[in-house]
Symmetry: C2
Subunit: 394 residues, 2 copies
């Protein structure tokens, strides 16, 4: 039969990253295109021990339906951790466990946006969030990323130009894809603007715990004194991505609506792994494990940067991230789509910058590189392959 | 701050069932209100063995990001099982693994419905589906459940009256909450009507494998020769509900759109438990386990029916299910909301029939009882408590 697809979905295409991934089966292909944590970052033995304990001690609870809000001990541990480590959580705030950070992003948009409303985001921004927003038929407005984050004056102008703005979506720390960190001054200015115009900020912080250089910067949520910020994060990058355990902290009034939407989305997140994460936090030292992951990524990032310094020449610019998973490489005049195709032909996969643009169909002169997933050898060989393509006048 | 919630969400309330569940902490409360599988139905030892193997043999794969469509070996096993056991799956069909059956229901509506479109469903119907549909701001039209399922003539009239009908949502086998099975003749008639008016049927079959009496009836999907039926089911009632592993089989064109929406929903379902289910199917006899669960529920259902025969008197009518988890009890003149409150005061929790009505705020003279979760003793005592309240003229 001929299907009539909903207006908001009918023009949506599988993400370009997924298409690139299809090329990864090619022998000798090196992928610098992933967004995955390093397989070395999973504490397999400890998680295996806990899994065994759960099957022995509380299998029924772990295999039965749970509550939509999440496994209560884990919610309490997340609240405590957010409070103690990040100064996040006012008396009006509540926490819900979500199926990865992605679900929190999706539900925040679902709860707040009518079709035609505007969401302002960084330009470029995380494709998973942009596509989630697109399914709600919203108007996406991008503010260019600069050193130290978006320009608050441009944000204010965008809100004035789009009075139906319902959400400001930001990844202030190790932004995906650019790797940029927003300065504290800009974080404060952005929050002030959100308050002035009564718009909610969705602060997405999946990489915040992966800082391996520089100074911590307070999250926007930690500055939020009256519920203007929805904060979401995840255990994907510090314990395991495949388990799909994330969380969201926001004003109780918003969490109540998010709970209603999550209930009809997937009822609750995987109960077994909620218990596993909870026990990991009780029985082991999560911060010690995070220190290990940071060290791993510092080394991998330094190796990639060192290889780039040695191999790249000409007018290639790249970020020097202080954390997270990504490097952002720019070459003036580059067509990122054409370059990504050329790179795949030369057995190295990268994500074209165009993927991350709020306005679809535009060109980008940048590519995103990932250093967390490839082996050290793959990092070196991958950069060498890229250098051959990027160097010279092209 | 004052939040402006999206139109489709702002009037949504937590489901009445959730409110009832809050009363379950009261000492000596007996719950006949659940929709949970029996804790005795979880093959804990076998699942524990497999979990151990996964941590030993392919932990990295199980803890890393997976593909949105689902773990390929499991998808293939589901396809094979659907084909061999239920004659489901034409060359145009594809299978996606979902986070429980609930996610498949939610995504089907998201892919097909614009705000204001109509979804036709059985009256009463599954609250989780009704609430999922409500979040898309659709018009819900209920067709009364009768013996042997809805009247196809009434379905046809509803489609004619609502030319913007995009979806017909049906639970043809052991319908929730009524327990009714749709006859084969009605299944055929319903499919013919869907084809005549070019409307998609969403066939929800979470209980189909839990038949403990009577003859198997072919699913509507098995009769579908040109892609009019989206079929969804789950491992929740035959292996574990807490793991959130379900699946959806539909025409490739629809699955592609569902994949796009699922990707921005939760990226993929819990990878570890997808592998665990896959290995369970390879290493153990799933059908043998299902036979065990059927036997368990047959016995529990018979115990509840026997106790009702002994204790209920007067004009109380109830279904005699041949499978599934629920009994549907009707007493002419009963106000189900008032009765459910009275029941909780008398230490027995039931779900008022009003919960399941597509049109909110209406009254029902029925209640839903669950026999899978309570112990044998709780079944007897629970029915005795209900009998005291239901008997007499009230």
């Amino acid at each position: 039969m001929e299907y009539v697809i909903a207006d908001s979905i009918k023009d949506m295409k599988p993400s370009a990253i997924r298409e690139i991934f299809k090329s990864l089966g090619v022998p000798n292909m090196i992928s610098l295109a992933a967004g995955n944590p390093s397989p070395l970052s999973f504490p397999v033995e400890k998680m295996g021990n806990i899994a065994k304990e759960i099957f022995e001690q509380n299998a029924t609870e772990a295999l039965q339906y749970g509550t939509t809000e999440g496994y209560m001990p884990l919610r309490n541990q997340v609240k405590e951790r957010l409070k103690n480590k990040f100064n996040i959580g006012k008396p009006f705030d509540e926490v819900i466990i979500t199926s990865g950070g992605q679900q929190a992003i999706d539900l925040a948009a679902k709860v707040l946006c009518n079709p035609g409303d505007t969401i302002i985001c960084e330009n470029p921004s995380f494709i998973g969030a942009l596509n989630a927003f697109r399914t709600y038929n919203v108007n996406l407005v991008g503010i260019d990323i600069e050193d130290g984050g978006i320009d608050p004056a441009k944000l204010e102008k965008a809100i004035i130009d789009n009075p139906n703005t319902k959400l400001i979506y930001l990844i202030p720390t190790f932004q995906n894809p650019s790797g940029v960190c927003m300065t504290l001054a800009k974080r404060k200015a952005v929050l002030d603007i959100a308050k002035k115009y009564n718009v909610v900020i969705l602060e997405d912080n999946p990489y915040g715990e992966l800082r391996f250089a520089g100074e911590e910067i307070p999250t926007i949520k930690s500055l939020d004194d009256d519920g203007h910020v929805i904060y979401c994060s995840t255990f994907s990058k510090i314990l395991s991505a495949g388990m799909r355990v994330g969380y969201c902290c926001a004003h109780t009034d918003l969490i109540q609506k998010i709970v209603i939407c999550k209930q009809v989305n997937d009822v609750h997140s995987n109960q077994f792994f909620q218990i596993l994460v909870s026990r990991f936090i009780s029985e082991y030292d999560l911060d010690e494990h995070i220190q290990f992951v940071r060290g791993l990524y510092r080394r991998k990032c330094e190796l990639m940067l060192k290889t780039m310094e040695q191999k790249f020449c000409g007018d290639i610019i790249y970020t020097r991230p202080e954390g997270g998973l990504f490097l952002w490489v720019t070459k003036p005049g580059l067509d990122s789509d054409e370059f990504a195709k050329l790179a795949v032909k030369n057995l190295v996969a990268v994500v074209p910058g165009s993927t991350f643009l709020p306005v679809q169909g535009k060109k980008s002169d940048s590519i995103r590189l990932n250093y967390s997933t490839p082996s050290d050898e793959q990092i070196v060989t991958g950069i060498e392959r890229l250098a051959k393509l990027l160097n010279g006048d092209k």
